[in-house]
Symmetry: C2
Subunit: 260 residues, 2 copies
C-alpha cells in the first residue's frame, strides 16, 4: 500500500482530472463506494488502483475489499484529500479507478437486445440499463453520442444493472446493422403499429432514441418493425424514454409467457 499525503502528488492530480473531466480519459472510469467496488471485483476483477481514506482502513467491508487487491494497487490518502476525489457528498471512503470495459462485438446478434441511440440524460440511461436487465436483456448497444454508461449518475440509476449485462459503447450504425440476425424494432409515433396490436417477435433488437429527437432516421429506415405506444397524446406529447422501453420490453415478456 502506498501512502500519499500531498494534494500535488501526480497520481492524485490525475485522479482529480478523471473526476472533473472524464471525457478526457474515456478509457478509464471511477467506481465510487463500497457496493460498486464489490460489484467490480465480482464481475470484472482487479481495478487499476483502489483509493482508500485513511480513517476507513479498518472498517470491515473496506478491509475485505482491500484484501482482494494487490497491495501495489492501493493508494491510502488522508480523509480530507479523499473527500476532494469523491463525487459523493457523504462518501464511503473507497473508490476504484478501472479500465472502461470494451467487450468485443459479436459477429452476429441473434438474441433479444437493446440499442440506445444518443440517450443524453445519465439518469435515463441508468434506468434503461436497470430496466433492460430486469426484463431479461443481456446485451445493450449504445450509439456514439449516448451519455457515458459508467458515469457516477448512470451507475447510481443503474442500481447494479451494469454488472449483469454486456454494454457495448460507441457503436456506429454501419458497424452494428450488418450483424443483426433478428429484426430491428424501433419506437416512433409515425407509421407505426400499436405495441398491443398483434404479436411481437420473441427476439429482436429494440432501439430507443434520443429524448428530444427520437430514433435516428437512418435507424428508423432500417427497422423492420415500427412500434408506437398508444397513450393520451392530446394530453401528454410523449413518454419518457425509459418508460417507453419498459413498456415494450415487458409487453414482449408478457406475450412470451412471463406471467409467473
Amino acid at each position: 500500500m502506498k501512502h500519499i499525503t500531498s494534494d500535488q502528488n501526480p497520481q492524485i492530480k490525475q485522479l482529480r482530472m478523471l473526476r472533473e473531466r472524464p471525457a478526457r480519459q474515456r478509457d478509464r472510469i471511477l467506481l465510487d463506494g463500497v457496493h460498486l467496488c464489490q460489484a467490480w471485483l465480482q464481475h470484472h476483477g482487479q481495478p487499476e488502483c483502489a483509493v482508500v481514506a485513511q480513517g476507513r482502513l479498518e472498517q470491515s467491508d473496506i478491509a475485505a475489499i482491500l484484501a482482494l487487491i494487490g497491495a501495489s494497487r492501493i493508494l491510502c490518502v488522508p480523509d480530507v484529500l479523499f473527500s476532494r476525489l469523491s463525487e459523493v457528498e457523504s462518501h464511503q471512503g473507497i473508490l476504484f479507478v478501472a479500465a472502461r470495459p470494451v467487450p468485443a462485438l459479436p459477429d452476429l446478434v441473434s438474441e433479444n437486445a437493446v440499442w440506445l441511440d444518443r440517450i443524453q440524460d445519465p439518469g435515463n440511461l441508468g434506468t434503461l440499463i436497470r430496466t433492460a436487465a430486469a426484463a431479461g436483456i443481456r446485451r445493450l448497444f449504445l450509439s456514439r453520442g449516448t451519455a457515458s454508461a459508467w458515469s457516477p449518475k448512470a451507475l447510481r440509476a443503474g442500481q447494479g444493472g451494469h454488472f449483469v449485462v454486456t454494454l457495448h459503447e460507441e457503436i456506429m450504425p454501419e458497424t452494428l446493422l450488418p450483424r443483426l440476425a433478428v429484426p430491428l424494432a424501433a419506437t416512433t409515433l409515425e407509421q407505426a403499429r400499436s405495441l398491443y396490436d398483434g404479436a411481437l417477435p420473441q427476439q429482436c433488437v429494440w432501439v430507443f432514441g434520443n429524448e428530444g429527437q427520437g430514433v435516428d432516421p437512418a435507424l428508423l429506415q432500417a427497422a423492420g418493425l415500427r412500434i408506437r405506444i398508444p397513450h393520451e397524446q392530446d394530453r401528454v406529447e410523449s413518454l419518457n424514454v425509459a418508460v417507453a422501453a419498459a413498456l415494450c420490453l415487458f409487453e414482449q415478456r408478457r406475450q412470451h409467457g412471463a406471467v409467473g
Copy 2:
C-alpha cells in the same frame, strides 16, 4: 409594470428566498420559462406576479404572455438580476410566482387514480406525473413526505403532465382511505399476485411507494389488491418506481381495450 434595479429590493429578496428555500414558503411556487408560464395562464389563470428580464420585454412570446397579465403584477428587472433569480442556466427571461394549487379533496374517489407515497426524487415524481397523465389518469394524491410536485426538477420531468391532472399534495392516509370507493392496489414483492395473472379492475387507486422502502405498511395493509411485476429478480433487485407505475397503468389500459 414596476421596474426594479436593486438586488436589495424587498420583493427581489423574497423571490430569491423562494428559489433558495422553497420549503419555507410552501404556499407559493416558481414557474420558470415560457412554456410553464403559458401553461399556468391556460390552466390556472393569473399568477401572483410575473418577473421579466428587461432585455426580453420585446420578445414576441414573452410580450404575448405579459399582455395577459395585469400590469400591477409585472416586475421588470435587469437581465443580470434575473439570472440570479432563475434556476435555469440559460434562462428564458420570464418567471411566475404563483399560489400553490390546493384543490379540494373529492368526498368519494370513484375513478382510476394514483397515490404516490413518499416519493423522494423530483425526477421520478415528475416522470410519474407525466406517465400517469399519458395513461389517462386525471387525479394524483401525494402523501405528506413526497417531494414537492411543483419544484423546478419535478416540473421539468413532468413535461406538461402537471397541467392536465389534478394534484392533491400533503395527503394523510387517514384522510384519504375512508374516501375510496374503488379498490386500493399496491405494488409490492411480498404476498402479491403477478400483474399479468388475471384481470385488473377497470378502476382502482394505484399506490406506488418510496424508492427505498416501498409502500407504507399501513397502506399495504389497506390494499385489497397486492401486485408484483415479475422480473429477473436474481439479476436486478427491483424496478425504478416510475417504470413500475408505467407497467401497471399501461397493463390496465391494455386489458381494458386501449390497443388502438
